[in-house]
């Protein structure tokens, strides 16, 4: 299939009767909700006020972005939350208006947001709702590029990977002006499906809230590769539920920048036996930057023979660097192998001196140690599209010769 999307205004969201009724309920619910505060456990380290700065308020208006440049392989551009151009082959794209009622009903159920303010608001104010489906195995990743420039921008993506299908998506973000993007992507992986999911936020300077909700069917595998850098505020959330013998590997790097705050929240739930989770997040925090990672793995009574590991480590590069890290395991099953840990460290002076004593200037010696700190996560990055972006940000060691 080869799609060239015309501008899809809201994609028919809430125009059918059943969705409209649901939408009205959600709007009522939104009216009764307030944004989270630091009293909420999953927001305790957040510097959320940036999202509500007056210059970023209001529904997103059109914004004069440069015209989208075609990317390699399959791709979609979302400008101000709406799909404006796409090229796909293996992936099928359908706006909400083209879905049959059974599919819509299924997704309404899946999208039920509970009392989460940003999720409800995203559903009520969504700029567009698009379903991406993969039935087979796609060789190249689907690149999803978001651009936001004014006001509140709220894309909503539904992704369905059919049983046994295998593919990858890479989300990248670029901000062009005072704006808050409150976006959501919902990943539904069928039995044995495999998805590699890249999330790269380095060009985001404004406020960005991005929620990934993933449901993994039996034996499905999700491999997350995320690189987060910002000079503004960003919050990246994963809410993942694993089916029987499903596997989640979540690898992330926060590459802090001065005045930026990156806030990562992970909620992972093992509700069936035999699932495996392996989380590794590393944060690099320079002066005047803030990084927070809260991770919770919940093993329900049905989650026997679970294997779960979570490591959240931070390297503080200067005084005035701030990090908050909290890994948690909540276990209600008895036959499990779980481990978690977190560190907040600084560069090792002894190692630094050793390197300098061999003639390496301090700046370079520090970079070697920083690269070494990030290496265990970088080694897990396999998506060329993510690596290309990462390489443009980090001078990486080349060990190819060894």
């Amino acid at each position: 299939m080869n799609t060239a999307l015309a501008v899809c205004h809201r994609c028919g969201w809430a125009e059918d009767a059943a969705t409209r009724a649901w939408h009205e309920q959600l709007a009522e619910r939104l009216a009764s909700l307030t944004p989270p505060s630091r009293k909420d456990e999953f927001w305790r380290y957040s510097r959320l006020s940036a999202c509500f700065a007056p210059e970023r308020a209001g529904r997103g208006l059109d914004f004069p972005f440069p015209s989208p440049e075609p990317l390699a392989g399959e791709w979609i551009y979302f400008d101000q939350g709406r799909p404006v151009a796409a090229h796909t082959r293996a992936w099928r794209l359908r706006p909400w208006s083209e879905l049959d009622e059974a599919t819509r009903a299924r997704w309404r159920e899946r999208l039920e947001p509970g009392e989460d303010y940003f999720s409800v608001r995203n559903l009520v104010e969504a700029d567009a709702v698009l379903l991406l489906e993969l039935e087979e195995t796609a060789d190249a990743p689907l690149q999803i590029h978001y651009r936001h420039g004014a006001g509140w921008v709220q894309p909503l993506l539904l992704v369905e990977v059919a049983a046994g299908a295998r593919g990858a998506i890479v989300e990248t973000f670029a901000s062009f002006g005072p704006s808050t993007q409150n976006g959501a992507v919902n990943l539904w992986l069928g039995e044995g499906a495999e998805l590699t999911h890249g999330v790269f936020t380095a060009k985001a300077q404004e406020a960005l809230l991005h929620r990934v909700r993933a449901r993994l069917g039996a034996r499905a595998r999700l491999d997350v590769q995320s690189f987060a850098a910002t000079r503004g505020y960003q919050r990246l959330e994963w809410d993942v539920a694993l089916g029987e013998s499903a596997a989640l590997r979540l690898s992330g790097i926060t590459h802090g920048e001065p005045d930026g705050s990156t806030d990562v929240a992970l909620r992972i739930r093992h509700a069936a036996p035999g699932a495996a989770t392996d989380v590794r997040w590393r944060g690099l925090v320079p002066a005047e930057a803030h990084s927070a990672v809260i991770g919770r793995i919940l093993i329900e009574p049905a989650g026997q023979r679970t294997d779960a590991a979570m490591r959240l480590d931070h390297l503080l590069l200067a005084d005035g660097a701030a990090a908050d890290v909290k890994p948690e395991l909540e276990i209600y099953a008895d036959d499990v192998a779980c481990g978690h840990g977190a560190t907040l460290g600084r560069l090792d002076d002894e190692a630094l001196f050793y390197l300098c004593s061999r003639g390496i200037p301090e700046v370079e010696a520090r970079q070697l140690l920083i690269d070494a700190f990030l290496a265990p996560v970088l080694q897990r990055f396999t998506l060329a599209e993510v690596l290309r972006h990462v390489h443009s940000r980090l001078p990486l060691p080349d060990d190819a010769a060894a």
Binding site: D348, D349, E350, A351, F353, Y354, L355, C356, S357, R358, G359, I360, P361, E362, E364, A365, L368, L369, D371, A372, F373, A375, P376, P397, D398, D399, A401, A402
Partner: protein, 251 residues
Amino acid sequence: MMLTIRNLTVAVEGRRILDGLDLDIAAGEVHALMGPNGAGKSTLANVLAGREGYEVLEGKALLDDQDLLTMEPEARAQAGLFLSFQHPVEIPGVSNLQFLRTALDCLRKARGEAPLDSAALLRAAREAAQVLGLPADFLKRGVNEGFSGGEKKRNEILQMLLLEPRFVILDEPDSGLDVDALKLVAAGVNRLRRPDRAFLIITHYPRILEYVRPDRVHVLHGGRIARSGAAELAHQIEAGGYAAVLEGSVA
């Protein structure tokens, strides 16, 4: 003189460890530095290399005519100084190859030379690793990561061979080494001996001095060089302990 130390007085945490130390080492020479535990041998080595945490109260140290004590550690290395550490640190995640390449590039750049090409470096590093009996996966592994005590010492020698410094301080290169390794280390030093290069070997044992004949042996005691002599001095120490050789010296 290649190295000239005058009246060097150094305190650590407010305590004087070196107290008016004088030492001269000429190009082409090998000197040994001995002395009881805690005498300040490593302190001297570290101060010369530029480690933080030492307070230089008085004195100076010149390498050729450059005032070492005012230079950054990397500048001292670029001036030709090399310290083989008594306790080399482990640096997980920085591979030995990457480390060697970076160090060599920096040193060559400082000397105005073009970077060594990767293939040549790889060849030299592999050969040196083999000669020194370092494990085959050595170059890929993190610097000193999981190395045994002896392997760490061999790695210091490997770096010395590849970086080709002009003034080398070896802080107990022989401790924790088996006989074969000791010979390898000594062979490494001998391979580098040249009229325009000098060595200061800190040791407790005369054994390494059998393989690397020193021109002078010094005993550090009371914060300064309390006794100096020819190679035989090391044997007197071995036979009679420090008390015997320090008798009558100012302490």
